[in-house]
């Protein structure tokens, strides 16, 4: 029994049932399939992280974001600047207690280099209802090249706990046709 010593001291020499052996082989092969799945998607899939990231101070990141806002602001919404950066350009989204700044307007089907960084604590970039979720750190500039394929209004919900105002931290991304 499982609560008594095994029948032989060297348990490695005990026999293995055939049904167990078959399952071990099947499960092992399935593990290899799942492992290859990630490698395959990395080479062929459309949704992969670039792993492009830089160390940056919050001040330097905010400076870049402010420069982008000054250059590409098109209007204001809810007291927040709305920027319409040119396709292919570097776009900066600032995460801070408790807002995503600024509101960004993309064009459908165009690609943008989206930079994410936090000014203070950890934040979670959660683009809804598309459902893309990224961890946003202070001191790291994370770059993802993103290509919106739907138009409309999207929410950026914070999904990493960031203190008492966490649930108020909602931003906006617009995608025009």
């Amino acid at each position: 029994m499982a609560i008594t010593p095994p029948p032989e001291r060297i348990w490695w020499n005990l026999p293995v049932a055939r049904s167990e052996l078959i399952w071990i082989i099947v499960a092992f092969l399935w593990g290899l399939v799942m492992f290859s799945g990630m490698v395959y998607w990395h080479l062929e899939g459309e949704q992969n992280l670039s792993n492009e990231a830089y160390r940056i101070t919050p001040e330097a990141f905010l400076e870049k974001a402010t420069a982008m806002v000054e250059q590409h602001q098109v209007r204001e919404d809810s007291g927040m600047p709305v920027v319409h950066p040119p396709p292919g350009s570097d776009v900066y989204l600032v995460a801070r207690l408790w807002q995503w700044w600024p509101i960004i307007e993309f064009e459908k089907g165009q690609s943008y280099r989206l930079h994410l960084s936090s000014m203070d604590w950890l934040h979670g970039f959660s683009l809804q209802p598309v459902n893309i979720n990224l961890e946003v750190h202070p001191g790291y500039d994370m770059v993802v090249t993103i290509t919106p394929t739907d138009s409309g209004e999207f929410g950026v919900v914070c999904n990493e706990f960031c203190g008492i105002g966490h649930h108020q931290m909602i931003g906006k991304i617009l995608v025009t046709e």
């Binding site: 499982a2 095994p6 049904s19 167990e20 792993n51 604590w121 979720n133 649930h167």
Partner: protein, 558 residues
């Protein structure tokens, strides 16, 4: 014969030393107190996230969520694991416990540490969640309490290792240690790694909170914290799988089909589980895909393989025992005639099935490097780990408690009807919690979030109606799970206080007769288990590929 003070268990014939018995009782009792406290906080959290109820204000919600995570995920589970380790070493090996004094020192340190951290959280300035990610800062005592608790747990691990040495030296058993003890040893080895990682991350964080260290990198913190945080869940897996084998052996006299396979699967845990830190960092900046792919797969899924093996060998050993006892009708006669009215068995079997189907499959799928993009930090994540830690670990520990009450506390269970229903009520409640949280998570609902309606925010986002519905259902099933939890506490504490003392009579409902010859000696037929494993495998494959399809519909990212 040992000269130490001991008694002989009438049901099992095992020698139980007084020193070990008292420590098992103390650790198990304290663990159950913290289960009650932490469970209550969990109910408040679920009721707040039920949009129609929304019971707590924001500050209390985040406080309750911090306390819930600490008390159940850490304190309840580790205290109970210490009890399991002492049971699996001293009792199962017929031995005295090594250095009971040090074991008491460890116990007191854990208790004091847990109390300090709880009080600090309740004071209100340390609502930093269980994970306490820097640069968010808690009061220094928050970290101090955790460090003391970890030191106490580490002492417990070494008392366990010491007991293995003592038992071997004093020749209290023949041959190798039993499988359950082997599993507990695996848990203890992983625990040492876990606590070492905890020390590396928490000691500097404590110094930082006191002002002696200026800066702690948030990415480094998350990497090392999860070397503790996820590995601690692997302690749970090793411990609760051991309990599956324990319950199958005690209740049904089941033997492992093959000692080699079951122990080999445990060894896979030691070799590969610690890579699990990566699961939490799949969408963090600054880590390469090669690192993520290798680590998140536990080295090509070799640790997952370990769990898949146990998922077959545990029900397989039960089937073999039942068939040897004469329940040979059809594919599932052995299962129909299992002791479903014995809460130790039903809790163990529900734990086994739900851990595999809900916790295991969802865990592997969300740990795929790219699929994590559509799941990270949504409420899918707590949905997953309520299936692993509550259905898997907690329910298995409840099963073990139903054995400890008569065997170690020497009390008969009172309110047997309520005890009989308890695993079903609790199991159904937590299954609902898991399923509906995972459902809401696929709709993007964030975890650790007071109000998804965004009523207080300047910019609004409307989650779909189905998300609100599922959060409501999550709340309702949490009430059911709480009812199951209260039933457990009432039965166990009631039995300890008012249960009839068990004398030298053999116990009812605990069969220890071994079902003749099979197991490692011969190759028993287990067709029913093979069908169950087949159903599991097909579900796994389907769910895996469905999630790739979901991912493929998301905006392209490079």
């Amino acid at each position: 014969m040992s000269t130490f003070n001991h008694r002989v268990c009438p049901a099992t014939g095992l020698r139980i030393h007084k020193s070990a018995e008292n420590l098992i009782k103390a650790n198990a009792f304290v663990s159950i107190v913290f289960l009650a406290v932490g469970g209550l906080f969990g109910l408040l959290v679920a009721l707040t996230r039920w949009p129609g109820v929304h019971i707590l204000p924001a500050d209390w919600f985040y406080l309750a969520l911090t306390a819930h995570g600490l008390d159940v995920l850490l304190v309840w589970i580790i205290f109970f694991e210490i009890a399991v380790m002492y049971f699996a070493s001293a009792v199962l090996l017929n031995s005295r416990l090594a250095t009971p004094r040090w074991a008491w020192v460890g116990f007191v340190l854990m208790l004091v540490g847990a109390a300090i951290t709880n009080v600090t959280v309740l004071q209100g300035n340390s609502s930093v969640m269980f994970t306490s990610y820097v640069p968010m800062q808690a009061e220094p005592n928050f970290y101090l309490g955790l460090i003391l608790f970890a030191v106490g747990a580490l002492i417990g691990c070494f008392v366990f290792f010491g007991t293995l040495v003592v038992a071997r030296d004093e020749k209290t058993y023949q041959g190798s240690i039993p499988l359950v003890t082997f599993g507990a040893m695996v848990a203890a080895i992983i625990a040492v790694f876990t606590i070492a990682s905890g020390a590396i991350v928490l000691v500097p964080t404590y110094l930082w909170s006191l002002g002696y260290i200026g800066h702690i990198d948030s990415l480094m913190y998350r990497t090392i914290w999860w070397a503790m945080g996820h590995s601690s869940q692997q302690i749970n897996v090793a411990a609760h799988v051991s309990i599956w084998y324990l319950v199958a052996a005690v209740v049904l006299g089941a033997k492992p089909l093959s000692e080699k396979v079951s122990r080999g699967a445990f060894l896979l845990y030691i070799f590969f589980l610690q890579l699990a830190s990566a699961h939490h960092l799949l969408v963090d900046p600054g880590l390469s895909s090669e690192w993520k792919i290798f680590n998140t797969s536990y080295a090509m899924y070799l640790a997952v393989l370990g769990s898949m093996i146990h998922g077959m060998t545990v029900p397989g050993s039960i089937e073999a025992a039942q068939r040897a006892r004469g329940y040979t009708k059809g594919l599932f006669g052995w299962l129909r005639n299992a002791p479903w009215g014995n809460p130790a068995f039903s809790a163990m079997f529900i734990s086994l099935v739900t851990f595999g189907f809900l916790g295991g499959i969802s865990g592997v799928v969300m740990g795929v490097e790219q699929i994590n993009l559509i799941i990270h930090n949504t409420i899918y994540v707590p949905g997953h780990f309520h299936a692993t830690v509550v259905l898997g670990t907690t329910l298995a520990f409840m099963a073990a408690t139903y054995l400890l009450v008569p065997l170690v506390f020497q009390r008969e269970l009172i309110m047997r009807k309520m005890a009989m229903w308890q695993p079903y009520v609790f199991g159904l409640g937590v299954t609902g919690i898991s399923v509906f949280m995972m459902g809401a998570g696929t709709l993007g609902v964030p975890r650790r979030h007071w109000d998804i309606s965004g009523a207080d925010s300047i910019i609004k986002f409307d989650f779909p109606g189905a998300a609100y519905l599922m959060m409501g259902l999550n709340g309702m099933f949490a009430v059911l799970a709480t009812l199951g939890g209260i039933m457990f506490i009432v039965v166990v504490v009631g039995s300890l206080l008012f249960g009839k003392k068990t004398g030298d009579e053999p116990l009812k409902g605990l069969t220890m007769e071994t079902a003749t010859e099979y197991g490692s000696m011969k190759h028993p037929k287990i067709p029913g288990t093979l069908v169950l494993v087949g159903v599991f495998f097909v579900s796994f494959i389907l769910y895996y590929f469905v999630n790739w399809k979901y991912l493929a519909e998301v905006w392209p990212l490079r």
